[in-house]
Amino acid sequence: MTTTQPTLRLIDVHRTHGTGEAAVHALRGVSLEVHPGELVAVMGPSGSGKSTLLNVAGGLDRPTQGRVIIGDTDLSELDARGLAKLRRRRVGFVFQDYNLIPSLTAAENVSLPLELDGERARTARRRAREALGLMGLMDLADRYPDAMSGGQQQRVAIARALVGTRRLVMADEPTGALDSHTGEEVLRVLRQRCDEGASGLLVTHESRYAGWADRVVFLRDGVVVDATGSDPVERLLEPAR
């Protein structure tokens, strides 16, 4: 059992879209923790609630019931502005299609969340270069996205997700657009950043990438049906069927 404070905690999280007869229960009582240094993969068929789980955990969406806690901040206590600030400082997202801004260089893309957060441009750029350097991407710092391969863009996106004070990365099918070799390179980088102390939640439908995680959580119809490894919380909360 890990004794450090979890980076992320989900406690009995529900997310329902719509009401009454038409209600869709995307998540039904999901609990899990991600600790510093841990990469947790979420697997499940399409429609099982994987992406909803990631969006709720990262503060892009709010649960209809239950709590999401990042560090020592309960997300339910934040208004929209507070959530946006938390995302700028604490959580980074990585998506299948990289989402880099085409008119900015790699270093500018990585420094963007810091600048949006009010950091002076010069400091932000320096930190961005540090983040790229940590991942062996210094050569790419001044390149624009269209001059980079998919794998390189995704590694830049990971650098952006973990720049500055951000220590939690939400990765939604980050290998979806990549061939298996490049996908593996991206996972290797994500794994390395987690080994250095970051925390990651990885949504994937491909078990070969889930193999890089410390723990794998299986979702089906919004319920955690099984998990590898031991997360004490999951065992306590047998989902209501």
Binding site: R188, S207, A210, G211, F218, D221, D226, A227, T228
Partner: protein, 220 residues
């Protein structure tokens, strides 16, 4: 695969004695399929009897006898390289048999069987991924390794990839089984519904019994 072709392929690179053959086989396959030296000598004995290998001179001071390929042995191994590996016979797979039985034997929680297996297979996949990660990291950190050590490491990575792909395929199949079970359960529910309305066939059936079952919805 029999040990036979493994030994013939190694002997094609030059004469070797039993313990060396075993060490070479394991080094090239990362020890994934360990051989015991007895197995190697029994196989060498058979290969010699069949005229595919022959001993080279006398035993050395440690009592080891080297073997080399005969002309017939060379032809045999050349044929092996040229022909595809036979896939027509299906080896018994315990998991496949277990699930086939699980869906036919009453009272088995098939979903549970699937979930337990999937968690175990993904754990296995995690172990393999760690080994692969290690192999790649070792290669990056060791730039002055010998050529043969490099080739063996390459072979080991490919073996690991194969095991990873196999585990991945198993997880995909288990996902498929799970989805299939859910579909079958829904179908069973739909076909079971009209029988409840049989006694009221002459009367207007209750509306809920005629509503089509919507996949993915559950009765509370």
């Amino acid at each position: 695969m029999s040990v036979k072709y493994g030994l013939l392929a190694l002997l094609a690179t030059g004469p070797m004695y039993g313990a060396r053959l075993r060490a070479e086989f394991e080094a090239r396959t990362g020890g994934t399929w360990p051989l015991n030296v007895g197995q190697v000598y029994t196989t060498l004995g058979r290969l010699e009897r069949d005229g595919l290998v022959e001993s080279v001179g006398e035993a050395d001071e440690e009592g080891r006898i080297s073997y080399r390929l005969t002309e017939q042995g060379r032809r045999e191994i050349a044929q092996w390289w040229e022909a595809p590996v036979d896939r027509s016979s299906t080896p018994r797979d315990e998991l496949v048999i277990k699930l086939a039985l699980a869906v036919t034997v009453p009272g088995i929680d098939v979903e549970r069987v699937v979930q337990t297996q999937r968690a175990a297979t993904v754990r296995h996949l995690q172990d393999l991924t760690r080994l692969k990660h290690q192999a790649v990291t070792d290669r990056a950190g060791d730039s002055d390794q010998t050529q043969s050590a490099g080739a063996n490491e390459h072979a080991w990575r490919l073996v690991l990839d194969n095991l990873i792909f196999a585990a991945e395929a198993e997880v995909r199949w288990l996902d498929h089984v799970e989805a299939d079970l859910a579909r079958e359960a829904r179908r069973a529910k739909t076909t079971a519904q009209p029988t409840h309305t049989e006694p009221t066939l002459t009367a207007t059936p209750p509306t809920h019994a005629t509503e089509p079952a919507i996949p993915g919805t559950r009765t509370p």
